[in-house]
Symmetry: none
Subunit: 202 residues, 4 copies
DNA sequence: TCGTAATCGAGACGGTACGTCGTGTCTTGCC
DNA sequence: GGCAAGACACGACGTACCGTCTCGATTACGA
């Protein structure tokens, strides 16, 4: 058995209900696998092997690969990302985007999210999971940042959704083309653009 | 023989050199396959089947799936998109974006491009093709539109690249989440946002 | 890797036609597996593992487990069993049955045939393979023995098929209840019964 | 709930002892399942589903699948078959065999018995149950028929066991190859053969 | 002029992963 | 302690593609 990173073996059922140990082992294994081999090497089969879990256990709780990816990403994100409140949209965006890109670069999360988007191009179920479940969650979080800016009259309230779209598209574009490291200076310039702040100002 | 979409049968070798008929048949089959079944149903196996080609013939000329996708998309794109010149950036963007989304919706190109982006999350070669060849080409084309706007003082010249990034990200986001049809009203609002045009004005 | 009995690895395709090496490796592996673990331990998966073959290669050439079992049995039988011709039906039967039971006991063939019959109780395809392909072959061979006896007027020609049925049922019954070793004396008595020979006579 | 063949729901424990309702529901479900889908579709899982029983309840009372099959067959057989006494062995056999084949064809018993024999080729426990318990029972019943024939000097007393073997093998052969319906004419011819009666006579 | 070489369609090969099913064990919470 | 329920690890099922290989045929080109 080549891999030793999986949980302690012979974890058994704890009755007619979900075993949190199994769930944790699967999420951990999925995270590690994506970290090591990326989406290309990500398979339910291998996750099951590493987690010491049966494939049916995975399919029982996550109907699609996307559902699993979403849970892995969510567990990751919860513990890392917080919304800044600096008093100005452009500096909020600066702080948040730098944190986000760092999070994507320095944890498996970047790989996970790229996997999720790729999966959504393959499977209809994954697409609707991404669009109808994942994205709205993300938007809800970020909208607060923009709503505060609208309260401060930095942006028009009617523009919030479209600015959010531009902002998310900007991040996706850099993630999907793997330019998170190279193009970091773009963050500040783009934050100002979105916030309607003149370049170089404070 | 149930499928009739492939080229006429028994196309054979034409000697010790590449057979253009075979190449055309393969590109056509790939295009049709992506149109019908999307990236999920796109396999070298099925392309070969439809093209009436041997798999080695495909692998001989296209080392990776991404290479094939690029050629298919290139053949598609060349013949369709022209840059508008309406005299104002926001209406240029409006016209171009509506044309692009229509092109993505109504031809296989949308599926093809989605496939290419997805493949780039799996295969390093696809990623660098997308980032280093594809994206610069696209930027070069569009930059003219933004440069004209800068000449007219609608936008700052220093903002061109960042606005392009926002604009492309906006398009990708809608393509990848399959919202080209539903979210068409966003085009006008976003075109104004990018062009710095107040909402509702002419 | 626990099993070492499989053929030398990395046997590849020899073109667009059946590879006899692969076929031989698969039949050998199937035979060995049945010899070691019986029908209970017999799986296509394990045969593929031992043969160093891909599962699709097996499914390509043997549509059902029964087809594979039949080929394994046939290869075995061809090299071991010959029809005797002693000049009298009862001694022909005596010789043949003793050889058959020995063949069933001392080679994997007994296990193979038991597996085949069991499989026929599970799968409709296996049943028809057994009944319409295997059994007629077996009957054709044996019928010669009975026809010679009819020519010698030992039995009526009209009884041949029914005597064959009785004879085969007798053998099956002992095979399926694993009484080939214990009940060997029954062979002689039953040979006489079938041949219409009084007990104890020469 | 689509299937209605199982017992009334929410049958619960009746305390620290075996619940006869549960046992009956399980046997009934097993019988029905074998009737509908044969050995191929017979699984503990499905029996439990239909019976509205937990799997452990089944495993608690029947250690192996064979044990369950035996109980199902026993419950079935008891109520149906009677030994004929026509005054001649060949007509006894004729009557009994016709009844037996009809019983096997028209009730789940044929499927059950086929399942039992198949299971005996996989599981040692099933084999010994079949050989050491089942078969002797059957032989004991039938032997009376042959003993009466010996008393009437139709057959030799010393031949009884071997004729029984031939007779049972004949029946098994037709059951296992699913020729109970097609080959009914063989019954009369074989009955005469076993009874030493010339063909066509009365 | 003719052998050589690279092309073609075809399809078998060893593999990996898919998603489903059944196995026998285990635990819960009710009776 | 029996019961229904159902989760668990495991492993086989049969299928789809992967990328590689070898065939036999079909030309073009260089010696």
């Amino acid at each position: 058995m080549p891999d030793t990173s999986h949980a302690d073996r012979r974890r058994s059922s704890i009755g007619a209900r979900r075993n949190p140990d199994a769930e944790a082992a699967i999420l951990t294994a999925a995270r590690a696998l994506l970290a090591e081999r990326g989406y290309a090497g990500f398979s339910i089969e291998e996750v099951a092997r590493r987690a010491g879990a049966g494939k049916p256990t995975i399919y029982r709780w996550w109907a699609t690969k996307a559902d699993l990816l979403i849970d892995v990403y969510a567990a990751e994100k919860a513990s890392h990302m917080a919304l800044p409140d600096t008093g100005a949209l452009w500096s909020d965006l600066l702080a948040y985007t730098r944190a986000l890109w760092g999070f994507w670069r320095d944890t498996p999360s970047g790989s996970i999210f790229r996997a999720l988007i790729a999966e959504a191009q393959t499977t209809e179920a994954a697409l609707s999971a991404l669009r109808d479940k994942f994205l709205p969650d993300r938007l809800r979080d970020l909208r607060h940042m923009f709503e505060r800016a609208a309260d401060r009259s930095e942006i028009r309230a009617s523009e919030i959704d479209d600015l959010l779209g531009l902002y998310i598209g900007f991040n996706w574009l850099h993630l999907l083309t793997d330019r998170l490291a190279d193009d970091a200076p773009a963050i500040e310039r783009t934050a100002r653009l979105i916030a309607g702040q003149p370049p170089g100002g404070s």
